[in-house]
Subunit: 512 residues, 4 copies
C-alpha cells in the first residue's frame, strides 16, 4: 500500500509530453483523501495538474503499513536490499529524460539541471548497491581473554524524509538509497509545490517493490504540507527524520524530534561564499560564479551569495561578471540554451523584491539586475550588489539570484568574512597557491562542511559527504560514511569463556 | 591560566593520606571567587574539605583565556598533541593509587573501582596517543578529471565537558583525551559534589601543559553548579558540549545547545536489563548480576536494574542471587573486602526510600533489602524486587541498588521487555546458543547501544564506543570512531586543472 | 584491438543453443594465428568447436595495444570506469542463461553452478561500481606543521589474469571487475580447455568498450596454453599477475614475476577440511558435505577433501553420508536434477584412478565409490575413504570427488589435523558451541584463509576476501580491501609552508 | 631465554661514555657460541668491542624457545601486548641519549640522527600502543540470512627481522612494535657490523619482558652474519621475514621464503630523485638536497642520488649547491656541528672510489668532491656529478654521498627520468604549482612508494607506510595499515540458522 496522492488531472498540454509514468488508477492502494493542491508551472504560473494530498488519516494508515513492513525489510540481507535499489536505479535510468523534463517543468530549473538531478539519484543507486556489501561493522580487539568485541550496525527502522522544492528528486535519492540499503523503510514527504515529481518517483519505486513481491509500504511517498511534516516530526515510529529546508523550520523539527528521543539529519540554510585571490584563473572564476550564483536561479542551498574579491583583481572580475551576467539567457527552462529559469513561486519573487528593498536601505549598490522581469512566470534579473559586509542582510539566505561582492586585502580577512555568517554549508577559494589551498582546508580556514578550491560552491559529487555546519544543521548525506546516520550502532562484547575478567583490571569480589 | 577552584582546607585526617598532589597556592592563576562548597565523605557524611567554586566572572575570564589559547592548540600537529596526552597519562600513572583513593573517598565507590576509574583515564591517554596519528581523513575518487576530493577533519575549537558525580574521573578521560588529540581546548565542569577530584585532575594536567610551555587554558577545569553548566550550554564559543547526566537535564542542555547551532554529545539515563536463557551458566550469571546491580551501589549508568529470567531457571537463579546478596559486605569503600559502599549523597538515600515506597504501591514484592542501613553514611540495602513489567516505576532509572526480577517464556518476549523502556544504554544476554547470540545483536534484538553476551551490563572497555540510544541520548564516547564527534568534517574538492567539468555530467553554458 | 581467438567452427548441435553471442568475423581485430585447439564436451568427450589460439606474435601485438591503451584508462576517473563495469554487468545479466549454459557445456559443472558462476561475475560488477567511488586514500596527520601527508592509490597499469578451467568465468570476474575499476588494463588468458567461455566473455566486454568509444585493448582476452602463460609471467609490462592454478605452477609463476620485480596474486591448491563436533546439526552437516565434496565433481579449489568427525557421531554421520552419496544423480550437467557432472578431462579421470590406487596402497578403505562410471564422458563415482591422517596422500590435493574421513576425540586434535597439510585455503567446523566457534576463528584455530562455521568449505560470497594461506599462495580476491592489491600505494608528504622541519625532531644544520 | 651475543670486552674509552645498559653476565640465558666479531668505530677504524655471535646451534635453541613462547603471546589479548610495547617505549625513552650515542658511535651517523633513530623507535612504540586496540577486523554484510560474515585478523606466529647497518635501531622498531602488538614473537638479526646496538636493544626489551613475567624468547635478538640470515630465510617456523638490504640479497631471501610458502616484507635498494621545477623555492631546495644527499653520508635507502633541475634554474641551483657542499663540516659524528660522518666501513669507501672511476669512464664530470678524505676513518668527500641520464651507473644504487645532476625542460620529461630506474623507493618534486603537485602524486606521476613535495626524499614519518615499488621490493612498514602484513586474515562465515542457503542463489539438490 502506498499513500502517494493520485494524479487527478493534467491540464497542460506541455505536461503530456513529460509525464509518461504510471496509470493513475490501476492499483489498489494509490489513494489520498486530503486537500487538493495544484501543481503550477513556474515559467508561466499556469496549472499543470491537480493532486489530492494525504489526509491525517491517510498518514496514519500509511505509517501503520510502513511499521508493519519494517520487520520484513530489516531482516532481508543488505546485499538483497542492494539488489532492489539497483533495480530502482535501472527504472530511473529508463525514465531519465522524462523525469528530468518533469523536474524542469514543475520546479523550474533548466533541463540539464533537471536531468542532472535524476542522474544524481541514479548515481546514488549505483553507489548504494556497492555499499550494500560494505556497511561494515568492526571487530575490535578486546582486552579480556575469550571475549569478542564487535561493533554492529543494525537498521533504525523507519526513516522520514522531508525534502524541499528546489531538489524535488535528488535529495530523496541521497536519503532513500542509503536508508533502504541500510534496512530502513522510508516515509517521504516531498514539497507541496512539486507533487508530480513526488508521485512519479513514488510510482517508479512502487513498481520495483511490487515486481519483487515486496510490500509497497517499504517506500511510502506522501504529498502534503506542514501538517504532514509535523506528524513526521512527532511520530515516535520514525527513528530518523532527514529534513531539508530553512534553518528556522529545521530547528522546530529538531526540537520536536529530540523531545521524543529521535534522531535528526538536517540540511538547512546556506549562505555560501567564493573567495578569489589575485593569482586566480579569472576565466574559471567567472564561469564558476555564474554557475554558482545564477544556476537554478539562485535557489540551491549551495548557491553562491557572497563573493570576496582580492583588491588587485576586484575591478576586472566585477567587469567580467557584469559582462557575463548581461549575456545570461532567461527563458523557458525546457528550451535549449536557457541559463536562467524562473523562481519556483510567486512568493520567491516577493522575497527577491523585498530583498532588493532591504539592500537599498542598507546602502547596497546594485551593479546589475535588481528588477523583476516583465514576462509570464516568476522571472527575476540575476543581480550583483556591492554592499558592506556589516549590512545585516548579508547574514541572511535570500533564496534568489542576488550576489554580494566585497573587496579584501589579505587571505586572513577573506577567511574571517567567509566564516562571519551563521550558516556553514559551502565555500570556495580560487587560487594557484598550495599554501593557501591547504590553509583554506585546514583548522583556521573555512568553517563550512564543503570547502572547495577552484570550483564553485555548488555541484557536489555523491561520493563525498554533503552537508554543513552551524546553522546549516550539521547533517551529512550521500557518500563517505553518511550511512552510519541511518543505522544503530551497538558495541557488543561476547564472552565465550568460562570466567568473568573485568575491564581496567577491576577485581569485584572473588571469582568462584 | 586555569580557573579551577582552590582547595581551601582539608578537615579530615583521612584525606591527608590521599591528596598528595599540588601545592595549593604556588601558581598564579589558580583562583575562584564563587560560592564555597563542602566536599563530604559519603561513608560518614563528614566534611573532607571546602572548595571555592567558580563565579560567573571567573567563567568568563576562563573562557576568554580558552578562546585565546585555541588557535595555538589547533595549529599544533596532532602527533605533537598526542605527546602531551601521553605525558598526561604518565602523570596519572604516577599518581594512580592516590587518585584512586581520592575518588573512593569523595565519591564513595570501593577502592578497586576508584583505581579502575583512574586506570580507565590512563588507558584512554595511551589509546589517544596512537589515535593522534590515525585521525585520518580520506581521499575519495572524484568523477571529475583533475580534481582531488578530500574529506578533511579539523578541530572544532572548544569542547565543554559536564560530567557527573558517579564517574568523576573516567568520563572526563573519555572526552578530554580524544578532544585534546583532535585539537580542541577543553572546558570541564566536574560534579559539584566531587570538587576534590576536579581539582586534583586539573592540577595534574596543568603541570603537564606548563612543563611543555603551553597555555594552561588549553585545559580548563571548573568547580561549579548548575549556573556554570547553563553558561556552558549557551556559550557560542563552545562548539561541542559533552554532557553526562539525567535524561531530563540532558534534554535541556540539548535544547540550549541546538538553539545556538552547537553540537551535543549526550550520555543520559540508562535502565539496563540482563536476560538469562535457560542454557546459561548460572555461576557466571550470579557473579555478573551482583557486579552489575550492587557494584558502585547501583550508581552506574550501566547498572543492571532489570533482570529477565527464563521460567526454567527463575527460581534457582533468584535463590542463588538472594544468597549472594546476603553475603555482600557493606562498609567503608577504602577498606579491603568491602563490596558495597554508600550512596553518594543523602538525596540518593531519599530517592531510594521513595522508590521503595512506590514499588510497594505498585505491588512490587521485596525479596531482599528495601531498607536504609542503620549506620553512619549513606548506606542502603541492596534490594531485589519482584514486580510486574507493567508497573510504571520499571520505566524509570532509580539511581540506587534496586533490581527488578521478571520471568519470561520465550526469547522474543524477553527482547520485547528489554526494549520496552525509554532508555537504551546497556543490555546483556546469558546463553550458550549462537543463534540467540546473533539474534540478540541483530536487527530485531536489543535496541541498546551496548549489547553484551555472557558479561554484565557494565564494565565497558575503552576500545569500543560507549553510549546508548533513545532517551540515553545517542552519543558515543571513548574508542571506535567516536573521535569524529570532536572534529569538523569538510568535503574538499580541489580542481587543479584548467577546465570546469561539472558533476552528474551537467552542462551549464559553453566552456570558453 | 582484441586478440581473443576466433570461433572457427561449432561442431555440436548442442552448442548452437547456448552460444548466441557475437558475430565471429564482423570486427577488425578479432584474430589469432596460433595453434588450433578443440573444445570438448566433458560429458561426452565429443568436440564442441575448434578455436585458433593466440600465437606469440599475437601476444606481442596484443600487449603493445594494451600498453598503448593504459594511459587513457588510467586517467579516466574511477567513477567513470565504474560506469563501464556497470555496463559489463548489464550485458552479462542480459546473457546470464546463455553464458551459464556455455559454462556447463564446456566445463562440465551442473547448470545451477554454471549460472551461479556467471551470477558471481555480475555481483562483482555491481560491487565494483560502488567500489569505484570508495577506493579511498587517506589523509594521515603529519607531525610536521604545514605538511599534508596523503596515502594515494594509483593504478598499477596492466594486470594479467591467468585462470583455470574449473571457474572459467567467475575468477576472471573477481579480478577484472576490481582491476578495471582501479584503473588497470586487463590481459586475460583463460584455460586452454575452456576457450569458448573465454571468447564469449571477451566479446561481451568488447561490445561495452566499443559502445563507449574506448579502446578494446583495455580488456584483452587470449586463448592459449603454457607458452602464453609464460610470456605473461615474464612480461615487465604486466605489473601484477593474478594466477589461479596448482601450487606447483603457481610457484614457477611467482619466481618468474618476482625476478622482474612484478607483483603476484596467487590462488593455488586447497586441501580443505570439515570438522564436525558432536553437538552439530547432522542434517546440516550431511547436506554441506555433499555440496562441498561432490559439487562440481570435486573440482573446486574449495572442495572438501578431508572430513574430521567427532567419535561420538562418527558412525551416524558416515552412515548418513553413504546414504546421501548413494542417491547422487550423475549425468548430463545441463539436465535438471543432475548433481554430479563429469570431470573436466580424461586426465582428471586418470588422476582419480591413480589416486584410488595410491589410497589402497596406503591402506585406505573405500567406503563408497572408487570406480570410473561406465558411460560416455569423464564420470567417476563420488568416493568416501577411511584412511590414516598419516597417509602421505592426505597431504595432496586430488582434483576429484574423493573424501577422506577421520575420527577425533578433542577439538584441539581436530584443529591440529586440519592445520597439518601444506595448503591453507578453506575449512569449516560444525558446532553449536560459541566457545568452539570463536576458538576456531581465533589465533589457535584454523590456519586457513577461509574459516567457516556450520556451512561448507565452498560457496564464498563476493563481499569477503577470497584466498588462502601457506601453499595456497596468500592472495585475496573479490571483496574486502582486495582492491589494494590492484593499486600502487604511495605515501605523499606535501610541504606547503616555507620551512623544513624534520621528522623525529632531527636538526640537520641550521635553518637559513 | 635470549640468544643475543654477549659483550665480551669494550676496548675504547669512548664507548664507556655511551654504553650504560646491561650488566653483561647477570642473566642466565645471555649466551652465544659462534664466531667473535669486532665492532669498529667508523670514524677511526679502531675497535670498540668484540662480540660473540650466535652459532647455528644457538640459532636452533633460540628458535625452539621462540616457537614454544608463541602460544602464550598469541593468546594474550592485543591491548595487553600493547602495554608491554608501551613499557618498551618507556625504557627506550629513559635511555634515549645513551642509545643515540651508541648508534652514532657504532654506525657513524651524526648524533642528531642517532638520537632521531631511537626517537623513531619510541614513536613507533607509542603508535603501536594505540594500534593494539585498533587492529580491527570487519563484519561484512552477508547475502545469506542468519549468517555472520567476519574478517578476522590473527597473529602469524613468528616474524623474522633482518635489518641493515644503516638503521641499526629504527628498522627494528618499525617491525618489532607492530609485529609484537599483532601477537607475533620476533626473531631479530641485526647487521654484523652493529652488534652493540643489537645487544643494547635486545637487553632493554628483555628487561621489560622479564619484569612482566613473560618469556624472553618472545623477543629474540641475534648477532650473526649471512649464515644466520639464511637460516631465517629457510625456517618454516618463521611465517614472515622482513628483510632490509640490497635488491640482490632481497631477491635471494624472497626466493627462499616463497619456496617454503612463507611471507616476505622487502625493503630493498632505492635510487631516489628530486625534481626541481623553475617555480621552486630554491632555499628550500638547497637545504633539502643537502640533507637528502649528504645526510647519513649518503647511506640512507632514501638518500637522494639523482637531481633533476629545470633548465631555467639549473645553473643557479648547482651554484648554490656547490657553495653549500663547500661548507659541509666533516668530522666525528658525536661532535656538535658535524654534518658529514664517515662511511660505515672501509668497503663503503672502496665502493665510493670504484664508483668515481666508473663515473669518469662514463663521461661524468665531477663538479665537487670525488676524493677520499685524508684522515682517520672512512671519510669521503660529498660529491656532485654531471652525467648523462643514459650512463649505466645512474641505474645503480651506490651507497655513498654521490649526487648526479641533470637538466630537463618539461615536467613530463622529469617524471620519465625519475621513473627510468629499476628502483622505486622515494622521490620528491619542488614546485608551487598545484597542478604539478597532483600530477606528480597521480597515476602518471612518480612511480615510487614515497612521493614527496617540497621536502627531501628522506625523513619519513612513522604514521605513513614506508616502502617502495619495483626493485625496492613492494613492502610497507610502520604506519597506515602496514600491520596487516603481520597478521593472517581469515574470512569467517558463521551460519547460526537452521538452513543452508547458498551464495549466488545456487540450488544444490533439495533442502530437506
Amino acid at each position: 500500500m502506498r499513500f502517494c496522492s493520485n494524479l487527478v488531472s493534467l491540464s497542460s498540454e506541455r505536461s503530456q509530453k513529460v509525464i509518461v509514468i504510471g496509470k493513475p488508477d490501476d492499483q489498489h492502494g494509490w489513494k489520498a483523501h486530503g486537500p487538493t493542491v495544484t501543481s503550477v508551472n513556474p515559467s508561466s504560473n499556469k496549472p499543470i495538474a491537480t493532486v489530492v494530498e494525504a489526509s491525517v488519516e491517510d498518514y496514519e494508515e500509511a505509517l501503520k503499513a510502513c511499521d508493519a513492513a519494517k520487520k520484513e525489510w530489516m531482516q532481508m540481507t543488505a546485499p538483497k536490499r542492494g539488489e532492489i535499489v539497483r533495480q530502482i536505479g535501472d527504472v530511473l535510468r529508463a525514465n531519465l529524460n522524462a523525469l528530468g523534463r518533469l523536474v524542469s517543468l514543475e520546479m523550474g530549473k533548466i533541463l540539464p539541471e533537471g536531468i542532472g538531478e535524476v542522474q544524481e539519484f541514479i548515481d546514488m543507486c549505483d553507489f548504494a548497491v556497492g555499499l550494500s556489501r560494505q556497511i561494515n561493522g568492526s571487530i575490535i580487539p578486546s582486552e579480556r581473554p575469550n571475549h569478542m568485541m564487535l561493533e554492529c550496525w543494525n537498521p533504525l527502522g523507519i526513516v522520514g524524509v522531508i525534502s524541499a522544492f528546489n531538489f524535488p528528486c535528488a535529495v530523496l535519492g541521497w536519503n532513500a538509497c542509503v536508508a533502504l540499503v541500510c534496512g530502513n523503510c522510508v516515509v517521504w514527504k516531498g514539497a507541496p509545490s512539486t507533487p508530480l515529481v513526488t508521485v512519479a518517483i513514488t510510482k517508479l519505486i512502487a513498481q520495483v517493490l511490487e515486481k519483487n513481491g515486496l510490500r509497497g509500504a517499504i517506500f511510502t511517498g506522501l504529498c502534503g504540507g506542514a501538517n504532514i511534516g509535523e506528524k513526521i516530526s512527532h511520530d515516535r515510529r520514525i527513528h530518523l527524520v532527514s529534513f531539508t529546508g530553512s534553518t528556522k523550520v529545521g530547528q522546530l523539527v529538531q526540537a520536536a524530534v529530540n523531545a521524543r528521543f529521535g534522531k535528526c539529519l538536517l540540511e538547512l540554510s546556506g549562505n555560501n561564499a567564493i573567495v578569489v585571490m589575485d593569482d586566480a584563473d579569472l576565466s574559471l572564476v567567472v564561469r564558476s560564479v555564474l554557475f554558482a550564483s545564477v544556476g537554478t536561479a539562485g535557489q540551491r542551498c549551495t548557491t553562491c551569495r557572497r563573493l570576496f574579491l582580492h583588491e588587485n583583481i576586484y575591478k576586472e572580475t566585477v567587469d567580467r561578471l557584469l559582462k557575463a551576467y548581461s549575456q545570461v539567457k532567461a527563458g523557458d527552462p525546457l528550451v535549449e540554451g536557457t541559463l536562467l529559469g524562473p523562481l519556483h513561486t510567486t512568493t520567491g519573487v516577493k522575497v527577491y523584491q523585498e530583498g532588493i528593498e532591504k539592500i537599498k536601505k542598507q546602502n547596497g549598490v546594485i551593479l546589475t539586475g535588481g528588477k523583476v522581469i516583465e514576462r509570464e512566470g516568476n522571472y527575476v534579473e540575476p543581480t550583483i550588489v556591492e554592499i558592506s559586509n556589516d549590512a545585516p542582510i548579508v547574514q541572511e539566505e535570500l533564496f534568489c539570484p542576488i550576489l554580494y561582492v566585497f573587496q579584501f586585502k589579505t587571505f586572513e580577512e577573506a577567511v574571517e568574512m567567509n566564516n562571519s555568517v551563521p550558516q556553514g554549508l559551502s565555500s570556495s577559494i580560487f587560487t594557484k597557491n598550495p599554501e593557501l589551498i591547504f590553509r583554506w582546508t585546514g583548522p583556521l580556514g573555512s568553517d563550512c562542511g564543503i570547502v572547495n578550491v577552484n570550483i564553485p560552491t555548488n555541484g557536489a559529487e555523491i561520493g563525498g559527504a554533503f552537508g554543513g555546519e552551524k546553522a546549516t544543521g550539521g547533517g551529512r548525506e550521500a557518500g563517505s560514511d553518511s550511512w552510519k546516520q541511518y543505522m544503530r550502532r551497538s558495541t557488543c562484547t561476547i564472552n565465550y569463556g568460562h570466567t568473568l575478567p573485568l575491564a581496567q583490571g577491576i577485581n569485584f569480589g572473588s571469582e568462584n
